[in-house]
């Protein structure tokens, strides 16, 4: 615990990352308490109302109102829930798949390894966004399909890292000794190798969250993600694009929200990697 605290204090950028991620998660959990208004309440009298935030106070719509008079701040706060749920579900799914395949590839070797790593190569041969469009185009846009796409595009990174770690662990003394003691392959894999590859997998998972947030908002922006009236940040941006000349606040604030979350997750992920794996740390 003390080592953790020291590591946080030594890295200002890591601290920024932790704070941003913390605020994001807190906002998502406490959305009903934090949001000043109902995010889907339509108020046509207040269409495209300008931000009311001045030195005197926040006013009724601190960040303005959208084309249906809905409060933008409340929509951003509720939208953080969707972003968080989609990101975590997708990363957990791709992580589980990737760790499993990486373990099998590294531990069994031979044909299993060749097939799995070749599959990863094929997956990486299709630029991400085009793969997403292909699958969404085939299955149709929905929250479920979006998560499937995000999970399918993410497993390769986990598999590659976990395979590499497994290959080196397989030859270590402690694995040799449990093998000599008569442990089965499955038991060695799950009880002795899996716990040791988890730190690497967690670091990859953190950095994957950033990628998923960007891709999810990009797909929602293209109309391939969540369908209205849900308040998703990418969707809000897409709708705001039509009012860019008259009401800049519609598209600007959701974009800032995405930027801050991705920046925070990236900084946190970099810090986590340095913390768990001092070998990778830069000498300062």
């Amino acid at each position: 615990m003390r080592r953790l605290w020291r590591a946080i204090r030594r890295s200002p950028s890591g601290l920024v990352g932790i704070v941003l991620v913390g605020v994001f998660i807190f906002t998502a959990i406490a959305a009903p308490l934090l949001a000043p208004m109902d995010p889907v309440a339509i108020d046509l009298a207040n269409r495209l109302g300008a931000p009311t935030w001045t030195v005197e106070g926040p006013g009724a719509h601190p960040l303005g109102a959208d084309q249906l008079g809905r409060d933008i701040l409340s929509r951003i706060i509720w939208g953080s829930r969707i972003t968080l749920v989609v990101a975590i579900t997708a990363v957990v799914m791709s992580g589980a798949l990737g760790v499993l395949l990486g373990l099998l590839a590294g531990f069994l070797g031979g044909w299993t390894e060749r097939v799995i790593m070749r599959l990863a190569d094929v997956q990486l041969s299709i630029p991400l966004m085009l793969f997403a469009l292909l699958i969404i185009g085939a299955l149709g846009p929905s929250l479920f399909n979006l998560i499937i796409v995000l999970a399918l595009t993410g497993w390769t990174r986990f598999a590659r890292i976990v395979r590499g770690e497994t290959l080196s662990l397989r030859e270590r003394e402690f694995v040799m000794s449990v093998r000599a003691a008569g442990a089965t392959g499955l038991r060695i894999m799950l009880r002795h190798i899996l716990p040791n590859v988890m730190t690497a997998a967690i670091v990859v998972a953190t950095l994957e969250v950033a990628r998923v947030v960007i891709l999810e908002s990009a797909l929602s922006f293209l109309g391939m993600g969540l369908q209205p009236p849900e308040a998703s940040w990418g969707r809000m941006l897409a709708e705001g694009r039509d009012y860019i000349a008259s009401a800049w606040w519609l598209a600007t604030f959701p974009g800032v929200a995405i930027l801050l979350v991705v920046l925070g997750v990236n900084l946190f992920g970099d810090w986590l990697r340095d913390y768990f794996d001092p070998k990778l740390q830069e000498n300062r």
Binding site: F131, N266, E282
Partner: protein, 306 residues
């Protein structure tokens, strides 16, 4: 040597076959093409006849082989929307995408290398802090949002540049900057850290000891070696560029492959989606093959290791 080349070539061919398989499976997931093609009033007999005509009643393996044979001839079927072969629709748009991605890659390489070197050489100064701060934010900025903000500032407010379309030199500035941002930031960050590592090497100390001037040490001895990881990353960045091009083209109404694929999804014109995904992926695979081959020529360690 030739073994390394042959191996990489074979891997690329397997990757292309894999991409085609995914495209084939995706096409089957869209539902029954016979039902989609016929009016709602069609009877079961009509559907059965249509299925027979399209070859959908034959075994899946046979359909797959027929699909591969068509693709080898460049035939992805006819676009419902454009009433022309889907492949033709995609190939027409390819130059626009190349132009955009090429200019963005040039901007990214030039600005990214400059910023990375400055940050590495100005360690501990405000200059490094600014360069790396901007790069971090650049990596976190969603490009569709950046595109909108650039349009708002430079096209709507200042009215310096057009907001979209393809035309003269002024049309490409905003989309190219939008697309280049992520590449620039990634190159700058990677080059900075690899430059810092290289500057600790013994051969740099030797170069200093020989009394060489800083310009020679930094550029000829250090930067050359620090650029190797950057070159390796260009293959990955090409994929990011093609992905980003889809979004950038949509925002700026740039008539490229990405935009035509997005439009094709909206109109359920799946032949164009298949052709677009395949063409871009094959180019991407070819590009990576080229990078690896050049890399093998430059770096003898790779040839020997294989």
């Amino acid at each position: 040597m030739s073994g390394y080349f042959a191996g990489r070539l074979l891997e690329s061919l397997v990757a292309i076959l894999g991409v085609l398989t995914i495209v084939f499976i995706a096409a089957r997931l869209t539902g029954d093409p016979a039902v989609l093609l016929l009016p709602i009033s069609a009877t079961d007999a009509d559907i059965a006849r249509m299925r027979q005509e399209l070859g959908l009643d034959r075994p899946l393996l046979e359909q797959y082989l027929a699909f591969l044979a068509d693709v080898l001839r460049g035939d992805f079927g006819v676009s419902f929307e454009h009433h022309r072969p889907a492949m033709q629709v995609v190939l027409e748009r390819l130059p626009a995408t190349f132009e955009l991605a090429g200019v963005a890659l040039l901007i990214g390489a030039a600005v990214g290398i400059a910023a990375g070197l400055v940050a590495a050489l100005a360690r501990g100064t405000v200059l490094e802090l600014i360069a790396m701060g901007v790069a971090l934010i650049g990596q976190a900025t969603p490009i569709f949002w950046l595109g909108i903000v650039l349009i708002l500032v430079f096209a709507v407010e200042l009215q310096w540049l057009p907001a979209g379309g393809r035309g003269g030199l002024d049309h490409i500035i905003l989309p190219a900057i939008t697309l280049a941002t992520f590449t620039t930031a990634s190159i700058a960050r990677l080059l900075r850290s690899s430059m810092i590592e290289v500057l600790k090497e013994d051969y740099i100390r030797t170069a200093w000891a020989k009394g060489l001037v800083p310009r020679i040490v930094y550029l000829r001895h250090a930067a050359r070696n620090a650029l190797i990881p950057v070159i390796t990353m260009i293959g990955i960045l090409a994929g990011e560029l093609f992905s980003g091009a889809v979004v950038t083209e949509t925002i700026f109404s740039w008539p490229g492959v990405g935009r035509v694929v997005v439009q094709a999804i909206e109109t359920k014109d799946f032949a164009v989606v298949q052709a677009g995904v395949t063409v871009i992926s094959v180019i991407f695979i070819g590009f990576n093959l080229l990078v690896d081959l050049l890399y093998g020529l430059v770096d003898p360690r790779i040839r020997i290791a294989s």
